[in-house]
Assembly symmetry: C2
């Protein structure tokens, strides 16, 4: 079989315009080299303190797809899409990950020594403060959403279709990916990727007067 060429990527505005949440996929698979390129662009995402809390599970075998399908209210795109990526997060991993990440940033000269020194104090201080506020999960998920958006826009730039999915039962998804009962693992989002023959219409957006404001928000109820 001839290896399909990876197409030249779309620019950012064109990728944003081309992206539509897609439910109907055809049977074309994703070239492994292209999938790896998309994963590389995904993990290039920035994160709080560069802690990279995302744990991305690649699902492309039929048995796991079927289990995910059940965990996601039997939405059919889980069975049809070539690949599903489960964006999980490990909200406690920063405790192990912090030191090597700081060391690396110092070694390559990206963070000055003084900044590295302050980070060694500030990261535990900040994370413990988030923990007390019950926000560790939220902050890890925020980072994972940046990575997921990198993933979707990169995939779109190479001609793939996708959907961000929130329709799943968290404990069931965790069980499928081998994280049943692990409180430190949370699910941020599930993304299906593949090729589609469907032309999806744009559902529109509300006027920006409802969502973009100069200097301050309008009063409640205005």
């Amino acid at each position: 079989m001839e290896t399909p060429q990876i197409p030249a990527p779309l620019d950012v505005p064109a990728a944003i315009a081309a992206r539509r949440s897609t439910k109907d996929f055809n049977s074309q698979g994703i070239d492994p080299e292209l999938l790896q390129r998309i994963l590389d662009l995904t993990t290039e995402a920035p994160s709080s303190w560069n802690l990279q809390p995302w744990r991305i599970v690649v699902v492309d075998d039929d048995a796991t797809k079927e289990k995910l399908h059940q965990a996601c209210f039997q939405q059919r795109q889980l069975l049809e899409a070539a690949v599903t990526l489960v964006f999980a997060v490990d909200v406690e991993a920063w405790q192990q990950d912090m030191a090597p990440i700081i060391d690396q940033a110092q070694t390559v000269g990206a963070w000055p020594p003084s900044y590295c020194e302050s980070a060694r104090q500030a990261i535990p201080g900040g994370q413990n403060a988030l923990s007390k506020m019950g926000r560790l999960r939220e902050y890890a998920i925020k980072d994972a959403m940046i990575a997921a958006t990198h993933c979707v826009l990169a995939a779109t730039s190479f001609g793939l279709q996708s959907t961000y999915m929130n329709g799943w039962q968290e404990e069931a998804v965790k069980q499928v990916i081998g994280a049943a009962g692990r409180d430190e693992i949370a699910i941020a989002v599930v993304i299906v990727l593949g090729y589609s023959d469907q032309v999806v219409s744009h559902p529109g957006r509300v006027p920006q007067r409802n969502t973009v404001f100069q200097g301050r928000l309008p009063e409640a109820g205005s």
Copy 2:
């Protein structure tokens, strides 16, 4: 004054490679036409049920910048960057926004009538379930993070520098944007945008064996 031309945008992989969290900005302003283009690409982001819960506050006046600077632990990029965007969310707005969004999607033919009918039931059902689980805020913030990532990658594609900022006191930021005491408003992220003469080094990423997995997560502690 001659209007600077908006440059041709970078492709998605190039924009991801070019993006570096930047703290030093020069005094060059952002062309209003370019800023509007970036905001248009930002609000093109998808969201759960297309509910678009983001409420984006554009801050470019010195008085408000100074107040934000105070609310963000006096980080200097708040004063130096040409524009700061506060990505807030309204976690209750879906109650008002749902009907016009469904009507619009049906009018343009993006959602079939049967899907619109089910959405009228499923959105309140889903949102009330999230509310019971204490997750309404998390889900609105997830949508806002997709929009914020659109914003940063679009801005990067046009030659701007940026930083996603989590270092702020939520109630103080809410006060600055006129949302003091409003429980339905949450802050997702603050983004500074501008031009920079700084060359920021890449701090590196952990190996993908730590963050990307085939089929399932490794055991805890492995």
